[in-house]
Structures are given as C-alpha cells and as structure tokens.
C-alpha cells in the first residue's frame, strides 16, 4: 500500500512539469494557464502477463494501451511471476509492486469459437471484481480491435464508474477529403464524400449520419450522408451561398448550421423530419456561425462578428436572448472560433488567437472563467470526446499539422499518429456505424 501511494505521488510530480515545459510559451493577459493536476486519484493498474497466443497477446497489448490512454490509471506491467493462468494472480506480489487493480486476460475453456475472459481484480481484497466474456472476431482486423476497445471501455467503467472512449473514432479533414482515425492512431481510413474539399464533418448522435460542407462547382451545399449506405442528401436552402459549420442537436432531429449570402451569414436550423428551415439570427453584413448545442438542447453557443472580430455568444435554441458568452475586450482580445459545448454541459471549448496564434481555451459556464489549455505552436478546432475530459485538436507543435489529444484532468498530451495535414476533427459518439459494422 505504502509503496503504491509513493509511486502515485512520483508520477504526479513528473507529469505537470512536462506539461508546463510544453505549454507556457504564450499566455493571454488575464487568463489562468489551465492544466492542474488532481493528485492522489489515479489507481495503479497492472495488466497481467499470462498464457501466450497471438490473439491473447494482441488483446493484452490493445487493452493495456487503451487503459493507459484513458488517463485514469498508472498502468504497469508486472513480471511474469504474478501472472494469472486460470488460478488467482499472486496478490501479495502485486501488493508489493504497489498495484491497486489488475486486469487479466485468460482463455475461456469450452467457449464456442475464439473467446477470452477479461477480469478486473481488486488487489486489496484479493478477488475478482468484474469479468466479461470477449468473443474475438476472426482475422485480427478492425472488428477485432473494436471488440477489444469496447472491453477496455467496460474495464474503465468497472474501475471508475464512467466508460472509456477507446471504441470511438475521430473524423477529420486532410487533403480536402474526409477521414477517420481511432483515438489510438489505428484504423485510419477515408470516408467517401462529395466535394473537394469537404469540410467540417459533424456526427449525428447515433453515429449513423455525417453532415459536412461540400465544395462543388455549383456551390457550397451542406450534405447529410448516411454512413452505412453512402446515400447523400443536400440540406434544403443550402444549394446557394456558403453553408458551413453543421452540428446535430443532441436528440438528432435538428441540424444547426450557418448559411451565408449577400446579406451576411446567419445561423439556421433544419428539421430532418419536416424539412422545415428556421432562421435564428439576423445579421446585417456581419456573420453568425459555428452553432453548438448544449446537451439538453435548450441553448446554442455560436460565433458572431457583431462587435468586430469573431467572438463567442450564446442564445436560446429558438434564437432568443442572444448575449456574449466568453468575455472579451473589444479591440484587444484575439478572434475566437471553433466552439464546442462539452458533453457534461459545464463548459465550452474554443480557440482564440493569442498574439496572432490560435490556442485552445475552455470556458467554465458556472464561473464564466476561461483557462488556456495550449501555448506551444498553433492549436485549434478542438472537439470533445464523449467522456467530457479528453479533447482532440489540431496542433502544429511537432512541426506538421496533426491531431493531438489532451486529457484535461491530467494535462497529458499525445499525438494521434499518422494524421499529417489534419484539420477540423470531430470526435464520434460512443457508437458509430463503423464500430457497429466492424
């Protein structure tokens, strides 16, 4: 026990130093630099070695990485001596190593087809807390990985009370086309789409539809694409002018977006069932765009240039009570764009230019305080993971523009590999057509 706590403290001391070294190069005046570490809350988790087959080893490797990327544990790999091979692991040895939890992957005897059991052990009580049977899709491809990701999310749920986000995917734009990549960097694939470029992908809450702006010779329409069938529909009224920044309402029935023409750019709602279009803002030669829904569907945050540079405002979902949401100083606060309301409803992420360079900020709605998350390179277009604690965003910090993920609880940042030239990411809901289809 004592050893375990000591290890936790050591990890906590190291992590914030790394974060500060990375992200304090430029700070906006009056803004608190944001990453704070909550000490003493991360259990030590051991992924146990065990009987070795290609499938078992692959499951352990994917699980271990998912649990690490959940940022909720200090993940450790104990020596083979404490392994679980049907019998209970060596709890005394695990205790001596400082582990609080242990995950075992063991073959399932008598199960039809290839299946393993995933167990979560409580080292302190010396018992199995939870277990699940994991049928393994053949071939080791995307279906296999997604099945293990779902098991990892369930382990996180057992241990912390809220599920992980390993079994999700992130849509983004690169080279003018739509792509997706899993949060662990695997599974990058094109999403066949209309238009070049196609911009601003947005997921429906059930993960079956994607809305985006299509550059076609005849205009900038908004397309709603069924990801299973590939069927595409143009949102009525978006055949002319510029039509941008779509976002589905939390109940999936309405698409909010911005339509621009000779009279300015305004926020509209499109009812997917009745096909009725409603206008929410009336700009005269200024712009209202980037609508983002509160999780209860009652309010919409958006960007407006009504005071000059684009800044963050909020209104009722019927267009009422439009007011400033993120405080700004006229003439000195840099332009603000790319807002997204958090899944827990408590904050809105956006990017704002600091000395001409965009940085990620999170606005706390209860206090209206903003905290700056990034400071190294250009950082923009953040999107929330369904867990409300991770953000994916575009950063130039490594020299190329690619996707990064930050955990707001620990401040840990990591690149999502193989996403050079990425922009405009959209993190999927927990279930998507892709994860369903495998």
């Amino acid at each position: 026990m004592t050893g375990g706590r000591w290890m936790v403290v050591a990890a906590l001391v190291a992590a914030p130093v790394a974060v500060r070294a990375q992200d304090t190069t430029a700070t906006a005046p009056g803004v608190r630099v944001g990453i704070t570490y909550t000490p003493g809350t991360r259990p030590n988790l051991a992924v146990l070695p065990g009987a070795s087959t290609a499938a078992l080893d692959s499951v352990r490797a994917i699980l271990q990485r998912d649990l690490d990327y959940s940022d909720r544990f200090d993940v450790m790999t104990p020596p083979a001596a404490v392994s679980a091979s049907g019998d209970a692991p060596d709890y005394a040895a695990l205790t001596a190593l400082g582990a609080d939890l242990a995950v075992a992957v063991v073959p399932m005897a008598g199960a039809p087809g290839a299946a393993v059991e995933v167990q979560l052990h409580d080292v302190h009580t010396g018992s199995v807390r939870n277990r699940l049977a994991l049928p393994l899709p053949a071939g080791g491809g995307e279906a296999f990985r997604q099945a293990v990701h779902r098991a990892a999310d369930e382990v996180v749920h057992w241990a912390t009370g809220s599920a992980g986000v390993a079994a999700t995917t992130i849509a983004f734009v690169a080279d003018g086309k739509l792509w997706r990549v899993d949060p662990d960097g695997e599974g990058r694939a094109a999403i066949p789409s209309a238009g070049r470029p196609a911009l601003s992908p947005a997921w429906s809450p059930d993960g079956r539809l994607m809305a985006y702006t299509a550059f076609v010779p005849i205009g900038r329409p908004l397309v709603i694409q069924d990801l299973a069938t590939g069927k595409r529909d143009i949102v009525p009224g978006t055949e002319y002018g510029v039509n941008i920044t779509p976002e589905f309402s939390p109940d999936g029935r309405t698409l909010a977006y911005a339509h621009g023409d000779e009279n300015g750019t305004d926020v509209y709602l499109y009812d997917l069932r009745s096909q009725a279009v409603t206008r929410l803002t009336v700009g005269r030669f200024y712009d209202n765009l980037s609508p983002t829904w509160s999780p209860d569907g009652g309010r919409i945050a958006f960007i407006s240039t009504r005071a000059g540079l684009p800044q963050l405002y909020v209104m009722g979902a019927d267009g009422s009570n439009q007011e400033v949401l993120a405080h700004f100083d006229f003439g000195s606060t840099g332009q603000t764009n790319g807002p997204e309301w958090s899944p827990d409803g408590q904050s809105v992420v956006f990017h704002r230019e600091v000395h001409g360079v965009p940085q990620i900020f999170v606005l706390d709605l209860a206090t209206r305080a903003v905290r700056q998350i990034t400071g190294d390179g250009r950082n923009e277009d953040a999107t929330w993971a369904p867990d409300g604690r991770h953000l994916a965003f575009v950063s130039s910090r490594s020299g190329t523009r690619q996707l990064w993920i930050v955990d707001l609880e620990t401040g840990r940042m990591r690149p999502v590999v193989n996403t050079d030239g990425a922009r405009l990411p959209a993190w999927s809901p927990r279930r998507t057509f892709f994860s369903e289809a495998g």
Partner: protein, 219 residues
C-alpha cells in the same frame, strides 16, 4: 457556332432538372430579403430568382442522390464552352460579336484587395470596380462571378463567411452602380485558394482578395 453549342448545353441542364421532377423548394428556405434602396431590392429579387432556379435543379439532383450527375452535366457544359472558346480563338484572333478586347478582359479580371478581417471595398479599389462597370455596360450579355478569398489567419470556417462577405461587398458596389444583380454571382473560397503560399504580411495582403471571372457572354 459558339451560340449553337452553348444553347445545346443549356437544355441539357433543364432536361436534367425536369427528369428529376422536382417541385420548387419552399419559400421559407430563402432568407427574407431586406428592404433597402430600390436597386438593392431589385438585386435581391434577381438574386432570389437565380437562386431559386439553381436550387430547383440542385434539389432535384439531391433527391435522386445524383450530385455527381449534376456536376458531370455542369462540367460537360463547361467543356463545351471551352471547346467553343478554343475554336473561336483558332479562327478569330480578333474577338468580335460581343468578344472582349484584351484590355477589357484584364480590367474585368483585375482583383481587389481587403484589410485584415475586413470586407469593405477600399477607396483605392473603387477605380478598379468602375472600370469593370464600364466593360459590363458596354457588353450587356456579360455575366461574372466574384470569388472572395482570405489569408491564412483565422479559422477555416470563419474565413468562408468572411470570403462570402468580401464577394458580396464587390457585388453590392457593382449593383449600386447599375449592374443587374442577376449578372453577378458570388462564391467564397475562404482560405482554401491562397495565391501566395507564404506566411508574411505581403503574402496575406495578396491573398485577401476578390477574383473576378467571366461566366457567360465573353465571346
């Protein structure tokens, strides 16, 4: 020769729209035109009519999930037009019958520029627009497209709105000085088409621009 081919392309588009049997889109989808000066009101009406026509064929295309077919039809029309242009260039070095002399073509194509995050037509660019007015007045069959562009600062998405505003500002100037709104189409490229790939003030200044392209009636 040219007129024949161009006329041949147009019915093809009409046929595409008709084949898809599409009723007009509901008026509710068109933002209410604002009541302003007479010329602007006329502009809105013209623009709405054009938009409605385009919307009809587009919505029809969408209903049949044939965005690709609509684009193919348009690109066939484009290539027919280009073929005609090539042919007339071969056979008629001096453009006639509504053709543009080089100086007029250059005056029409001359871009105008904008301050950072602004969409007002700068005083220095009014003379450029006035020269376009003269060419448009002398060639009443000419139709043009204004394409608004931005520098790399600001978000991808906001710059699409800003580019639209820049194109609209030039159109407003032309229409306020007597050009029929229906002859001027606008489009935004945001920051997707920089002329200068640099990251300097000079590059940004060059990229904050409206491009002008003749879409119809040049020869």
């Amino acid at each position: 020769m040219m007129l024949k081919l161009t006329r041949a392309a147009a019915p093809a588009l009409v046929a595409l729209a008709a084949a898809c049997g599409k009723p007009p889109a509901p008026a509710a989808t068109t933002p209410a035109p604002s009541a302003r000066a007479d010329s602007l009101a006329r502009a809105s009406a013209d623009s709405a009519a054009r938009a409605a026509a385009r919307r009809d064929s587009l919505a029809a295309a969408a209903r049949a999930d044939s965005l690709a077919r609509a684009q193919a039809a348009l690109s066939r029309a484009d290539s027919a037009r280009q073929q005609v242009q090539r042919q007339s260039a071969d056979t008629a070095p001096v453009l006639t019958a509504g053709g543009l002399v080089a100086a007029d073509a250059a005056a029409l194509a001359d871009p105008i520029h904008f301050d950072y995050n602004k969409s007002d037509v700068m005083a220095a660019d009014q003379a450029r627009l006035d020269r376009k007015l003269a060419v448009l007045a002398a060639h009443p069959r000419l139709e043009i497209r204004i394409a608004g562009n931005c520098d790399e600062r600001g978000s991808d998405e906001y710059n699409l709105a800003l580019g639209e505003r820049r194109a609209a500002a030039a159109k407003r100037y032309l229409v306020a000085h007597g050009v029929a709104a229906g002859r001027v189409d606008i489009v935004s490229y945001g920051k997707e088409h920089p002329l200068d790939p640099g990251h300097t003030e000079d590059a940004w200044a060059r990229n904050r621009r409206d491009d002008f392209v003749v879409t119809k009636g040049a020869n």
